[in-house]
Symmetry: C2
Subunit: 193 residues, 2 copies
């Protein structure tokens, strides 16, 4: 998606350690007009799928997911990072490793919001090592629901997450795929799509 690639070139900041800061428009300050254009694009890409629900994970996926959901006219469910696991059986749980925070989170969704009739589109801001998306897929499959696809704003194409998720036979559409980054020159290149 050219609009997103141009925005990343303009406002993204390449930092050492393959860190791409996009906090001025994607995941701290959020440009909802850009999110709306992203929603149109995801609708174009996944419009052939019988999606009735969008699943994301707190916190930075929520804003994108809610604006995208308006184009599908479906509700959003966000998986929560649990403070303490509720053992009463009302939750689906999985573990997600965060490389940014060097921590493993228990992540939960109430069972009543995912069931086997659901056809789910996963939305998130980043796909890098794929841990968050793999955890969301695990939650959906625990419920016996169908993963219709994964819509990502920015994929780090030089990390393994995209290959892993696509290798499971799941359709992944990333609006921008960063092929390489150079923090010395502050430049990056995108995969042709």
């Amino acid at each position: 998606m050219k609009l997103l690639e141009e925005r990343i070139r303009k406002d993204g900041i390449v930092k050492p350690g393959n860190v791409l800061k996009v906090d001025s428009f994607l995941n701290h300050q959020m440009d909802v007009e850009l999110f709306n254009e992203m929603g149109k694009e995801f609708k174009r890409l996944f419009g052939d799928r019988p999606i009735n629900k969008i699943l994301t994970i707190e916190a930075s996926g929520i804003g994108i997911a809610c604006v995208v959901a308006q184009h599908f006219q479906v509700p959003v469910v966000f998986a929560k990072k649990a403070k303490s696991i509720n053992l009463d059986g009302e939750m689906y749980t999985t573990k997600i490793e965060s490389f940014t925070h060097k921590k493993v989170y228990d992540v939960i969704v109430a069972k009543k919001f995912l069931n086997k009739e659901d056809h789910v589109l996963i939305i998130d801001d980043f796909l890098a090592n794929g841990c968050a998306v793999a955890g969301l897929i695990d939650l959906i499959q625990s419920a016996g629901a169908t993963v219709e696809g994964v819509g990502i704003a920015i994929e780090k194409g030089f990390q393994q997450g995209g290959d892993i998720i696509r290798g499971k036979g799941i359709r992944v559409e990333s609006l921008a795929i960063v092929e390489s980054m150079d923090d010395e020159t502050g430049t990056l290149s995108f995969r042709e799509q």
Copy 2:
């Protein structure tokens, strides 16, 4: 807002300890069409104010804030619950006490996303004791920015938060104000607005 009051009566669950569960449409599963109607109403209520930014707090405020922001055509900034305080001076910080989780959070906003030219509308899902909103006001005032108002989905009118914030001379508009709840009958009453 009648639509929200009716939805709370239909799908809200009154629990012991003055807990109102609205996780089927507001803060776990999210009804974005309802959020859109809430956005129209906030625009009607605050349309006379020169708002150029919306501030909310992770996680459950983000979805509402992003959909509401489309009606104001402004960006959203969400305050983050900090894992560790960054002491390099690039953040505004405040402390917010969560009664739900019985914990005090350090909450941060990057300084570059709040400045003295900003006219800010605060959006959140709940107003109860007012700690979260007071913390967001503190962040805005630290930046020398102007608080134009506070837009809340559900206010617990029998708790002190609404009085405290209004007592500071700040305009608070809550789309539904719960006056009382009875967990034995599962019923609640709303303040006439």
